[in-house]
């Protein structure tokens, strides 16, 4: 079988896979590890898409100058979009990490404010006793 016949199917599969996993990712209300897994799966699909897409570029021949120009524009646009999706995925992973750090900060704030107030409450009790 010729490889060029398989490429369109593979392209559709990888694109559908990445968009489905991103859709599933946004369906989760609260963030957890499942969400992270879906993001990783989405990035696998987009990688597969990029690899195939590069392959289609390598296998094409017999193009005139104008055709070649338009095909190149098309490739440029698609690469931009797919790289944009990958940027989105990486950004989400970074944002998750950052919100975890923020959580630690606010937890530490709560502990510190509670800890610092302990003595003043004890002093209040002592002064009332007198």
């Amino acid at each position: 079988m010729d490889l060029t016949h398989l490429i369109p199917e593979f392209l559709v599969f990888s694109l559908a896979g990445s968009s489905l996993s991103i859709a599933a990712y946004s369906a989760f209300r609260d963030k957890n590890d499942d969400q992270k897994l879906l993001l990783v799966v989405a990035s696998c699909f987009t990688f597969a898409f990029l690899v195939l897409f590069t392959l289609t570029f390598l296998t094409q021949d017999n193009l005139t100058g104008l055709q070649y120009l338009f095909a190149s524009i098309f490739y440029f646009l698609i690469f931009m979009a797919v790289l944009g999706i990958m940027g989105f995925i990486i950004r989400r992973l970074i944002v998750d990490q950052r919100s975890k750090d923020d959580e630690l900060d606010s937890a530490i704030d709560i502990i510190n404010s509670s800890k610092d107030g302990l003595d003043s409450f004890i002093n209040l009790l002592e002064s009332q006793k007198k």
Partner: protein, 210 residues
């Protein structure tokens, strides 16, 4: 099938096996237990938002059950101890205390403010009547800093709040010794100002009118 050359089958097998391996590693990485931790505070810090009432309860229930399992396996020999300071001995606290009393905690000390919710009084009476290990103390003033210490290991701290509302809180597993000592010392100091309450006194305790 006979047309497929052997090396194709081999390559397919390698692909399948390596992808299985990759998925396995991926799952391990993504689902790795990776808690927020900080050496000055504790091994696992969990932040609860004010509306996560269920999550807060389950987290504390799990701690209590862990201790019970460790005790029945013989990993812990000393008495299990629970220390609680709350604004009022409300329904949420009662649930935790009951759970602890049912799970081999032998020393439970509760320090609360002078008032309770009116509808809780009979419930507290039955609780004190049923569990003799539960010691209930009240302070002349409502404490503003609320916390729980689970067997001198784990700490649960609430954000200051009024009696009518709930706020966020923080749970720390395997709390840093220094930090835990500050809370332990404070607990003991506050205990000297508190007076014990018998179950009969509870029925006459001042209460918040709705």
């Amino acid at each position: 099938m006979s047309k497929i050359p052997v090396d194709h089958v081999l390559i397919l097998a390698i692909i399948i096996i390596s992808s299985l391996l990759a998925v396995f590693i991926l799952f391990k990485l993504v689902y790795k237990h990776n808690p927020i931790c900080d050496e000055y505070y504790g091994a696992e810090i969990v932040l609860f938002h004010s509306d996560e009432r269920y999550k807060k309860r389950v987290w504390r229930f799990n701690l209590i059950e862990d201790f019970k399992n460790k005790k029945s396996n013989g990993k812990i020999n000393e008495r299990l101890e629970l220390k609680v300071i709350v604004g009022e001995f409300s329904e949420n606290t009662q649930e935790i205390v009951k759970h602890a009393a049912n799970h081999n905690f032998e020393s439970i000390t509760i320090i609360a403010g002078p008032n309770v919710f009116c509808e809780d009084r009979t419930e507290i009476y039955t609780l004190l009547d049923k569990y003799n290990d539960v010691k209930y103390f009240i302070l002349p003033e409502r404490p503003t800093k609320h916390f729980m210490i689970f067997n001198n290991t784990h700490l649960y701290v609430e954000k200051p709040h009024r009696h009518t509302e709930t706020r966020g809180s923080v749970g720390i597993k395997k709390c840093n010794r220094k930090l835990l000592n500050i809370y332990n010392i404070a607990f003991n100091k506050i205990l000297t100002h508190a007076k014990p309450l018998t179950k009969e006194d509870v029925l006459n305790q001042q209460c918040y009118k709705e």
